[in-house]
C-alpha cells in the first residue's frame, strides 16, 4: 500500500464482502472454502470477505484457498446484536478476527440444534470436514450495537451494517433509522437494490459510504451483487481508505 500513488496509478477491483460458508447453519453444505474461492474467481471477483454468523471459524481456510487462485480474502463475521441487527465486521488479519470471535463467543448464548437450524461445518482449504461447531451461531449476541462497533474498532476492524434495505435483521428495519451517534464505517444494501440507485431507494443513508454484497449462502449466488473499488491493490488497508474516500481511493457504484 502506498498512499502517494496518483489516481492514474490506481486500478479498479470487484469486491463482494459478505459471503457465508458451510459454517453458517443456513449456508449450503456445498459452500466449502475451496469451492467458494474457485466460484468467486469464476464470477470475476478480485476480493471477497467471509462473513459467517457470529463466527470466523472458516475464514482462515477460505483465505488459504484464495491464495491458491489469486483471490484476496478478508476474514470477517456477520454479528447479530441484541437488537437483532446484523453487522458485517471485516478485519485485516485472521488474528484480529479471532480476537473478535472470542469476544462474541463469550456473549453468544445457546447451543445449535442441527435438525432445526442446520449443520455448522468447519472445513479446511481442501474442503475436508474438520468438525462441527455446536454454538447457536444463528442466535443474537447479548451485545448492543454500540458495543459491537466499539469492539470491532478495538480489533482494528471495519463495521458495515448488513442489508439495510431489508425489513428484518437490519439496522434500518429494526431501529427505524440509523442512530446518528453510531460510529459505523459503512452500510450495505442487498442484491435487490442496484448500488447506483441505493441512495434514492433507501431513506436515510445519504451520509454513509454505501456498498452492496451477495450475502451468498449458495455457490451460485456468489457475485450476484458486487461493488467496484478504485485502489492500489485488493487488501484491507486499501478498502478502509476507499470507504473513507481517502487518497483517491473510492467506491465505484456499478
Amino acid at each position: 500500500m502506498n498512499p502517494a500513488l496518483t489516481t492514474q496509478e490506481l486500478k479498479h477491483f470487484r469486491a463482494d464482502t459478505h459471503i457465508h460458508t458451510c459454517l453458517s447453519p443456513c449456508g449450503d453444505l456445498e459452500m466449502g472454502p475451496r469451492d467458494i474461492a474457485a466460484q468467486s474467481r469464476h464470477a470475476g471477483l478480485d476480493m471477497i470477505a467471509v462473513c459467517d454468523h457470529n463466527s470466523a471459524e472458516n475464514a482462515g481456510a477460505v483465505m488459504r484457498a484464495g491464495d491458491r487462485v489469486g483471490l484476496a480474502v478478508l476474514p470477517g463475521m456477520e454479528i447479530c446484536s441484541r437488537e437483532e441487527v446484523h453487522v458485517v465486521a471485516l478485519f485485516e488479519t485472521l488474528e484480529a478476527a479471532h480476537q473478535m470471535q472470542e469476544f462474541v463467543y463469550a456473549r453468544l448464548p445457546g447451543e445449535n440444534q442441527r435438525e432445526v437450524w442446520g449443520e455448522q461445518i468447519m472445513a479446511n482449504e481442501k474442503n475436508e470436514v474438520l468438525g462441527e461447531n455446536h454454538r447457536l451461531l444463528i442466535g443474537a449476541t447479548t451485545l448492543n450495537l454500540y458495543k459491537i462497533v466499539e469492539q470491532v474498532h478495538a480489533c482494528g476492524g471495519l463495521c458495515i451494517a448488513s442489508h439495510v434495505d431489508r425489513p428484518a435483521y437490519s439496522l434500518i428495519g429494526n431501529l427505524g433509522f440509523i442512530p446518528p451517534d453510531l460510529d459505523i464505517d459503512g452500510i450495505e444494501v442487498s442484491f435487490r437494490v442496484p448500488l447506483c440507485r441505493a441512495r434514492q431507494s433507501v431513506n436515510g443513508i445519504a451520509g454513509y459510504p454505501c456498498v452492496t454484497a451477495s450475502d451468498a449462502h449458495f455457490l451460485r449466488d456468489i457475485g450476484r451483487a458486487w461493488y467496484g473499488l478504485q485502489m492500489a491493490s485488493p487488501c484491507f488497508a486499501e478498502l478502509r481508505m476507499a470507504l473513507k474516500g481517502e487518497n483517491g481511493r473510492k467506491i465505484i457504484a456499478n
Binding site: E83, N144, P167, G173, N174, L175, G176, F177, P179
Partner: protein, 117 residues
C-alpha cells in the same frame, strides 16, 4: 384511560418521561421492528415492545404515542431515558409478556379505531 391510570391499574413502573403521564390513550400496538411500528402504530397509542434503544423514543414522538411499555423486564438504555424525559414520553416497565398486557388493555377497553367506526 390516561397513562397514569394504566400505571396504577396494571402495576407498571415508570422509568422515564414521568411528566407525560396525563395523556389520553387512543389505542394499542405491539411490535419490535421499529420501521414497521413507525409505519403502522395508531396515533396516540400505547406501544409494547422489547427494544430498548433510544430510537424507540423517536418513533413514539413520530406517532404521538401516549406511552411505551417495555415488556419482559427489559431495561431502557440511559440515553433512552434522557430522551424520553426531554420528549415527555413515558417509558413504563412490565415484567410479563406483551401478549399478556395487550390482553389486559384490550379487556379494559383500549381498542384501536378501525375504518367506519
Amino acid at each position: 384511560m390516561k397513562t397514569q391510570d394504566l400505571i396504577d391499574r396494571f402495576g407498571l413502573t415508570a422509568a422515564a418521561g414521568k411528566d407525560g403521564t396525563d395523556r389520553e390513550i387512543a389505542g394499542g400496538y405491539c411490535g419490535d421492528l421499529l420501521s414497521e411500528v413507525m409505519a403502522n402504530a395508531p396515533i396516540g397509542c400505547v406501544w409494547m415492545t422489547i427494544q430498548v434503544h433510544q430510537n424507540i423514543v423517536a418513533v413514539a414522538v413520530l406517532r404521538e404515542m401516549a406511552a411505551i411499555v417495555l415488556a419482559m423486564d427489559n431495561q431502557p438504555d440511559p440515553e433512552t431515558c434522557e430522551k424520553a424525559d426531554r420528549e415527555k414520553i413515558p417509558i413504563l416497565l412490565y415484567s410479563g409478556t406483551s401478549y399478556e398486557l395487550a390482553g389486559k388493555l384490550y379487556g379494559a377497553g383500549i381498542v384501536n379505531k378501525t375504518a367506519g367506526e
